[in-house]
Symmetry: C2
Subunit: 236 residues, 2 copies
Amino acid sequence: MSAPIHQRIRLDIEARILSGTLAPGDRLPIESELCLSYGCSRMTVSKALSALSAAGLIERRKKAGSFVARPRVHSMVLDVPDLPAEIRARGGVPGFRLLSRELRPARPDDREESDLAGAGEVLVLHGVHSCDGWPIAYEERAVNVAAAAPIRDADLSETAPGTWLLDHVPWTAAETRISAAIASGPLAATLQLRIGAPCLVIERRTWRGAERITNVRQHFDAEAYDLVARFAPSGR
Amino acid sequence: MSAPIHQRIRLDIEARILSGTLAPGDRLPIESELCLSYGCSRMTVSKALSALSAAGLIERRKKAGSFVARPRVHSMVLDVPDLPAEIRARGGVPGFRLLSRELRPARPDDREESDLAGAGEVLVLHGVHSCDGWPIAYEERAVNVAAAAPIRDADLSETAPGTWLLDHVPWTAAETRISAAIASGPLAATLQLRIGAPCLVIERRTWRGAERITNVRQHFDAEAYDLVARFAPSGR
DNA sequence: CAGTGGTCTAGACCACTGA
DNA sequence: CAGTGGTCTAGACCACTGA
C-alpha cells in the first residue's frame, strides 16, 4: 500500500527479468510510456530505472531505449564476515584461543611486514578459532601498531583480534585472496587434522584511508568450512 | 567541467571517507547545508547521498542526519568471470579440451541431477581448461537440456561449455561455493600434478528465472590459481 | 514537536546517438 | 535530426524519530 512508487516500479520490472518474462536484450517501454502506465512523473520512473541500471539488470542507451542486460559472470557478492559473527550466525558458539603474541619492530627484510608498518612496530598474533569447542581455523595476523595503538593494551586472550579491530579501527578498503593448501605437521596438530588434509586459505589486507591496518591469513579445515557466494542482482 | 553535480558531490564525499578525513560515525552536513555549499537543489544533493547510502558508505537517519557508516566485513565483490575470458584478461591464451560428452536422462537416484533436470535429459560434460597450453582446471558440468536445447548440436570440442552457455542462455541467478580438496590419482594425472596436491574447488549453480540451467564443478591447481576479491565501496 | 530525510511533481534544457 | 535518456530546479507534503 504505502510502498514508494519508484520501488514498486523497480520490483515489478525486476520480477519480470528474474522470472524470465523479460529476457536479455528485450527492450523496456520508454520512460514516458512508463509514466503513463504507472501514473507518475518522469523523475520517479527515472529513479526506478537508474536503480535497475546500477544493479546491472538493465542497460540504458540514449535514443535507443532501455534493454534487459546480459548477465556477466563476474561481480558476485561474497560474504566474508567476521569469523566469530559468522559462527554465531550458523548457530555455533564461537571461541578464540591466543597461542602467541609478539610486539616488535617490523623486520626490514620481511616484505609483507615492512609494507604493513614501514619501520614502525608490528603486533604479531597467532591463534585458533573454534566452533562449539572444536578448532576450525588457524589464524596468523600482523597489526600495524601505528594505525591501532590501543591494541597494545587490549585483552586478546578471548576476544579475537579481528573482532577487536573491527570495533576499534574500522577499515575503508580491503583485499582478500582465496586459495588452497595442504596441512603441514604443526597446522594439522593445531586443527586436529591428518597431515596432508586439504585446507582453504583466506588472506586479507585492510586499509584505513592510505594507512595499512592489518594482514591476516586463516587456514580452514576444508571438510568443515566452505564459502558461499550468491549473485544478488536486486541490490539490497 | 562537465561532470554532473550529483556525481561531483558523491565523489567528493567518498574521497573524504576513503581517505579517513571523514571517519565512521561522523555526521555529514544536512541536505539543506549541502545545497548551499554546492549551489544546487535538494533533489541533486539527495541523489548523491542516496548513491552513497546504496553503496554502504553512509547511513541516513531521519531527524538525526547522515553519518559515515562503520564498514561491515562481509559483502565483498568477487570476480568469477568466464574462465577463458579471465585467462585472456591475465594475458594468457585460453584453451579447452573436451574429454567426454554424454546425453542421457537424469538419474533419479542422483540428487543433484534430478534437482537440475527433473526427469528430463542432462548433458554431462568433462573437460580441461588450459592456459598457454598448460592444464589449469578440470571441469565437470551437467546441463539441463530442457533449458538449453540447442546445446545438443553445439560444437563443444573447442568452445568451453560455459562460454557457449553464456552466449546462448544468459542466467539470472547464480550460487557459488568455494572449497578445497586434494588431487586424487585421475585428477592429478589430468592436471599434471602430484597426487595429494592442494586444489581450489569452485562449484556453481545457475538459474534462468525459476529454471535451472547448469551445475559445474572446477578443480584448480592451487599453486597456479587463486581468487582475489576486492572491497569495492564506490559502486560503479 | 520540530528537524531531518523520503518522495513526488511538472516542468525544462541538454547530450547523445541511431535511423 | 528526432527520439531517447541524463540532469536539474523550486517547490511541496509527508513520515519518522530523537530531543
